[in-house]
């Protein structure tokens, strides 16, 4: 079984990639953060330093432990620097062609024993793996945002993933203190397969005049004990993101619940993207709630 000592993270200048790099380094592994953008890497490095500074302030780490973790973290804009990695986790833009091209490049750079893991939330692991010559060494490893705080990882073998690869990757997530769950290589795995249609149903309920967004969220939180209602959650992740998720799922599943509701598309067209634009199903410059 592949012994993992050094981990590469592609797309480490992004929020998810930076979080995964924290998980890897905190787990005791030499971690090489790779991104094509030096600026993004620099910004992520500052955010990482701030994150660990807070961990020390809160007593979760000693300053010596923090220093040791940071000493394990390296940054590069050269993909060839990933040649030392036993495991490379990609968290680049959610686009099949981009991920396939990246794996082809990694295939060229990395030794034959290196495992490639994809953090995709919507794409097929098998299809991503078809971009390289070692599909047996490609595995799905879907972290939740923010990766440095959320323990869950959805682990998915592609059709050609070897058992040895899956076991090695699974063991690595446990060594990092994460909680892996096994799912099939299907759109959305578990989390998004259940969440995306549910959120769409909540939007359709607003559109159908069942209740106001505020009452829908209040009902869900009170009856089910959820921390956040579906419409609050959509506002948080962005209505445009919800459209993108629908566009990833619907053509593959043809599940009508996964299709973007007309109201969602109209709100995106109007620039009502949620918290990021100050208005979605709620407005965020005061107590007024849109549609309430």
């Amino acid at each position: 079984m592949t012994t993992i000592r050094t981990v590469g993270v592609c797309g480490a200048g992004g929020t998810m990639g930076a979080g995964i790099a924290i998980v890897a380094a905190r787990g005791g592994f030499r971690t090489i953060s790779y991104d094509v953008s030096a600026e993004s890497l620099e910004r992520a490095a500052k955010q990482t330093a701030n994150f660990f500074a807070k961990s020390v302030e809160r007593g979760k780490l000693t300053s010596d432990e923090r220093d040791a973790i940071l000493a394990r973290m390296e940054h590069t804009t050269k993909i060839d620097d990933l040649a030392a990695c036993d495991l490379v986790i990609e968290a680049v833009f959610e686009d099949l062609e981009i991920k396939q091209n990246l794996l082809r490049e990694l295939d060229r750079v990395c030794p034959t024993h290196t495992i490639f893991a994809s953090n995709t939330s919507t794409l097929s692991i098998t299809e991503i793996a078809s971009g390289c010559s070692r599909p047996d060494k490609v595995v799905g490893m879907h972290f939740c945002l923010p990766a440095q705080l959320m323990k869950l990882i959805e682990m998915s073998p592609g059709l050609l993933t070897s058992e040895e690869t899956f076991k090695a990757a699974w063991r690595w997530t446990e060594q990092c203190g994460q909680t892996p769950v096994k799912t099939q290589d299907r759109p959305g795995f578990i989390l998004n397969a259940l969440l995306v249609p549910f959120n769409n149903d909540a939007i359709r309920a607003v559109e159908a005049g069942v209740a106001t967004p505020a009452d829908i969220d209040k009902a869900i939180k009170t009856a089910l004990g959820y921390k956040m209602g579906p419409l609050e959650l959509i506002d948080l992740v962005g209505l445009d993101t919800q459209v993108r998720l629908c566009e990833a799922f619907y053509p593959i599943t043809l599940d009508p619940r996964a299709a973007a509701p007309p109201l969602l598309r109209r709100m995106v067209a109007a620039g009502l993207l949620g918290r990021k634009t100050g208005r979605g199903f709620y407005t965020y410059d005061g107590a007024t709630m849109f549609g309430a």
Binding site: C144, M150, K151, L152, E154, T179, V181, K182, T183, Q184, R186, F189, I190, L191, A193, L194, L195, P197, F198, D201, A202, A205, A208, G209, V210, A211, T212, D215, I216, K218, A219, I220, T222, A223, L224, G225, Y226, K227, M228, P230, P256, R257
Partner: protein, 212 residues
Amino acid sequence: MQYAIVRNGKSRSFPEGDSFLSSAVAIENAEVVIYLGAAIVSDQAKSAVLVELGTESLAVHTGEDADEAFANVVGFARYRNGDDPPSRLVELVRRPWTKDGAVEAARKVFEAAGLEVVVCADQPGRIIDRLVRPKYNAALRLLDEKLATQADMDLTCRLGLGYPDGPIERVKRGGLAYHFEVTQALFETYGTPAYAPPRQAVVAALRKRNGK
């Protein structure tokens, strides 16, 4: 606001022993009359006449078209996951022509009892069942298709979404036969596959019917 209760059989919202039942007064002294399982009698002198709903539409009690005699009638259901104890949520149901004053009177009665109130239109499943039943259906179907184990599916929702429980453990705890009853009613009205009872719920309902 004082309320009277007219009961006939068991109530899902307020089971025997619920403190809400013991605070009721005689009808002649009440501003609001609450019907639990009993046929409503219109009474325009009251601020509101409330009728407990199961899976049926409020229009079953009031008629579809505007009728002054029923303009103060408000439907309600205290959400309950099958056999679980009732939650703190009360869904109020109104027709387009229901008087605002009646809805507000209903809200006051339940809020005074420490319950949380939301208002919804007279549509099948109200808010909660309309939204969660298709999700439970999907989870049960994905389980049958071996997407993952039940333990992993429930754990994923607890860890990934912060839910207090997973969808499959929740629907099973509430009772799959009850899930069948609700989804069958929703499927009959909406007609969309998302509401169709899943295999496991059909099995549970048949076994219950056969006394197993």
